[in-house]
């Protein structure tokens, strides 16, 4: 057996100088040979801490062993037992904080953990290329019940796939014209190609799931109708409503929320304007406010749209940056500038209603706040202005109210999210389950999927029990 390499098998990436002007995927993925070289590094630990730290508990050593043996079909089958969206997870999961963080190999001195995420991606991409989803067997048994899923993000897709596998009739309702939630309208092509998202959604449809787009629950169909027509429902409408800092100048032309900026680019293909009809500002100087994955995505998209200078303004320091470190490194390679410990205080008007600068103030870190992080406080007389024709606020999102405002019976938390039991997905109303960002607030793809998996089990239990009780009650 080859000697175990200390470091991860290198992976091919588009060169920064090239990729910063295109929207093609940055990371090119392993070849099967590279994957095998990486798979050899796995220690195949009996207690496998990686499994426990994965929100959907994938048998990680199992699929890695299959790669090592060159049996890609077996690897794909193992993955498929735990996740319906492996090609997506392999690309956007915060692996460094989950499976790879607890990898025993990575704990050894001078060793890097196994590149679990990249191996997952390899297997999933292989399956998308080589498997014919249309031949997946759908059970001919009579359906156990009928379930409505509201929202087609990772949480809704997961619950739908799992319930279809359990032989339920499942209809997913999506407000937009394309399914996928943030995977489709938020995360850019260069990190998650839409062709991959589309294929994985097709694989879920192949399980017998129906997806109806252009349906806004609460408007096109009311919750009352859903409750009458279905045995149970799962609400996974996400947390997509953008917050604004609300500082002077927010209404100026050139001030975007990250949601608008990224939706124009991803859902509406505005980076291909005028081939696609939806426009986006192509600016020279772009300032992005915030420090999460969303801020990185907006900044790197702006660069790809041709901006000369793109700066990220973040009120804390690199140590506290919430974005994935891989994305941070990619952004630095793409010449995104950082203004650490800085906060915007005003957007400047060019006199014609257009933005021409961002007035900022320097910050220092004071006492820790409720989140345990040291609270940034402004430093007196430290104002300065950054020239900008576009500013993008990526300071977080709130719960999506379209449905909730029409369903006042449903109990919410004090932050406006749905109150649901994390172990079951049950809400305050029997038969109504919920999960994903609309329960947790903005989180991750894999946590949203985990919530879907938990709820699928519980929904099955609920419907089976209900069918056994003689009196038919409303959901």
């Amino acid at each position: 057996m080859a000697r175990r390499s200390r470091t991860k098998t290198p992976i091919a990436e588009q060169k920064p100088a090239v990729r910063k002007s295109n929207f093609d995927e940055v990371c090119l993925g392993y070849t099967i040979e590279e994957g095998q070289a990486e798979a050899i590094r796995c220690l195949q630990c009996k207690d496998a801490p990686c499994i426990a730290s994965c929100p959907v508990m994938i048998d990680i050593p199992g699929f890695i062993l299959a790669i090592k043996a060159g049996d890609m079909q077996e690897a794909a089958d193992i993955l498929g037992r735990y996740t319906n969206l492996p090609a997506i997870c392999g690309r956007v999961c915060p692996q460094e904080k989950q499976c790879e963080q607890v990898c025993k190999l990575g704990k050894a001195k001078n060793f890097e953990p196994v590149a679990i995420g990249k191996l997952e991606r390899l297997v999933a991409d292989w399956a998308l290329e080589n498997q014919d989803f249309s031949t997946l067997s759908q059970s001919t048994q009579p359906k156990i019940g009928k379930i409505a899923v509201i929202g087609s993000g990772p949480s809704g897709l997961t619950v739908a796939g799992d319930l279809a596998k359990l032989n339920y009739e499942v209809i997913v309702y999506e407000a937009l014209h394309d399914a996928g939630g943030v995977l489709t309208y938020g995360i850019p092509e260069f990190r998650l190609p839409k062709r991959i998202v589309k294929k994985e959604i097709q694989s879920i449809e192949a399980l017998g799931v129906t997806i109806e787009t252009n349906v806004v629950i609460g408007k096109t169909i009311t919750m009352d109708e859903i409750m009458n027509e279905f045995d149970a429902c799962y609400i996974s409408v996400g947390a997509g409503a953008p917050n604004f800092m609300g500082i002077p100048g927010t209404a100026l032309n050139g001030v975007y929320s990250s949601s608008e900026y990224l939706t124009r680019i991803n859902l509406m293909h505005s980076y291909e304007f005028p081939k696609y009809d939806t426009p986006i500002k192509r600016s020279k100087n772009v300032v992005v406010i915030g420090g999460g994955n969303v801020a990185m995505d907006a900044a790197r998209s702006a660069k790809r749209l041709g901006a000369e200078h793109v700066s990220i303004v973040y009120r804390r320091s690199l140590e506290e940056l919430p974005a994935r470190i891989e994305e941070y490194h990619h952004s630095v390679e793409e010449e995104i500038n950082y203004h650490w410990l800085t906060n915007p205080i005003e957007y400047m008007n060019d006199g014609h209603g257009n933005l021409n600068g961002v007035k900022c103030i320097k910050m220092e870190l004071g006492e820790p706040d409720q989140s345990g992080r040291r609270r940034p406080v402004p430093i007196k007389n430290s104002e300065f202005t950054i020239e900008a024709d576009t500013v993008i606020e990526a300071i977080g999102q709130g719960s999506n109210k379209v449905l909730l405002s029409t369903f006042p019976e449903l109990k919410l938390t004090k932050w406006g999210y749905i109150e649901a039991d994390p172990k079951t997905g049950e809400t305050s109303i029997p038969g109504v389950f919920a999960g994903g960002d609309i329960v947790t607030g903005a989180a991750t793809v894999i946590l949203a999927m985990g919530a879907g998996k938990v709820a699928a089990v519980q929904i099955d239990k609920y419907v089976q029990e209900k069918k056994q009780t003689p009196v038919t009650t409303k959901v």
Binding site: A175, L176, H177, Y185, T213, N214, V215, V216, K219, T220, I221, T222, G240, A241, P242, F244, G246, T250, A251, N253, Y256, S257, S259, E260, T263, R264, L267, M268, H269, F273, P274, K275, Y276, D277, T278, P279, I280, K281, H352, G353, N400, K401, V402, S405
Partner: protein, 279 residues
């Protein structure tokens, strides 16, 4: 796909479509709108639901050709289909018996006031309607509005129909002669701004329907944001109807010009595509 069951040209730039959309037809209330996309490369654009026929499962949209999407839409015929149609979106108008109401529609805004006129009449109000346009042929839905109004006043800029002049002058005259309990104005931003000034001068409550640039229409992008009484609101979910006196008009009007350059480019690109076959 959503089939166009009837299409008609109303004037040089205005079109009247009935489209199959049973779910929307069953739910739509006055004041609500849809978002549509014609084809895969298309933009999502909002249009007010002018009327519904729930028994046929169809909705009526009346639109003016402004840029590329509305131009493309106008070229579709009965039997053609559009790719996506979502709705009904937005908060409905509060329809109840106010007493005497004054409703002002300008240009293609008449399409948006028609369901409100109808709703308020059916709720038992005394309805006075003012329709305004540049010239006679742009005064759409005259007969429909007349049918549901106790009084119908028409104004045109050039005097080709009704009274020569502006809708605000007609408003002044109505307010001078009788007590108006509530009013609505829908049309170009400038018109709505001046109708608001006129109504508020006489302490008549006034509602307007804002038409900012939208994308999703479900409160998710913040592109349609407007400042209402000093607070950021999203017109697609909090509106589109707001109290006219609460709207920051200058800001609203300025934000409508965000994409003027890009939209011109889009329209020219489109025209180039269309002229190529001829050489």
């Amino acid at each position: 796909m959503y089939k166009i069951t009837k299409s008609e040209q109303l004037s040089e730039n205005e079109y009247d479509f009935w489209i199959e959309a049973p779910r929307i037809a069953a739910k739509a209330q006055p004041g609500q709108f849809v978002i549509l996309r014609i084809n895969d490369n298309g933009e999502r654009i909002p249009l007010t639901i002018a009327e519904t026929d729930p028994s046929n499962g169809t909705i009526r949209l009346i639109f003016q050709v402004i840029g590329k999407t509305t131009a493309e839409l106008s070229k579709l015929n009965t039997g053609d289909s559009i790719l996506d149609l979502t709705g009904p979106l937005g908060m409905p108008t509060e329809i109840k018996n106010y007493g005497t109401v004054l409703i002002v529609g300008g240009g293609v805004g008449i399409a948006a006031i028609y369901p409100i006129v109808k709703g308020l009449k059916q709720a038992g109000n005394r309805v006075i309607t003012i329709l305004g346009a540049k010239t006679a042929e742009l005064v759409i839905l005259q007969e429909e509005c007349r049918y549901y109004s106790d009084e119908l006043i028409i104004t045109t800029d050039d005097g080709t129909l009704g009274v020569k002049g502006l809708v605000t002058e007609a408003m002044e005259q109505v307010i001078a002669r009788e007590i108006i309990n509530c009013s609505w104005a829908i049309g170009p931003s400038m018109m709505m701004k001046f109708c608001t000034l006129t109504a508020s001068k006489h302490e008549v409550p006034i509602y307007v329907s804002l038409n900012p640039i939208m994308i999703d229409g479900t409160g998710m992008c913040g592109g349609c944001r407007v400042t209402i009484d000093g607070n950021i609101k999203f017109a697609c979910v909090d509106g589109p109807e707001f109290k006219g006196t609460d709207v920051n008009w200058d800001e609203f009007i300025s934000r409508m010009k965000q994409y003027t350059d890009e939209e011109k480019q889009c329209l020219t690109a489109d025209q180039k595509v269309q002229v190529t076959p001829h050489g």
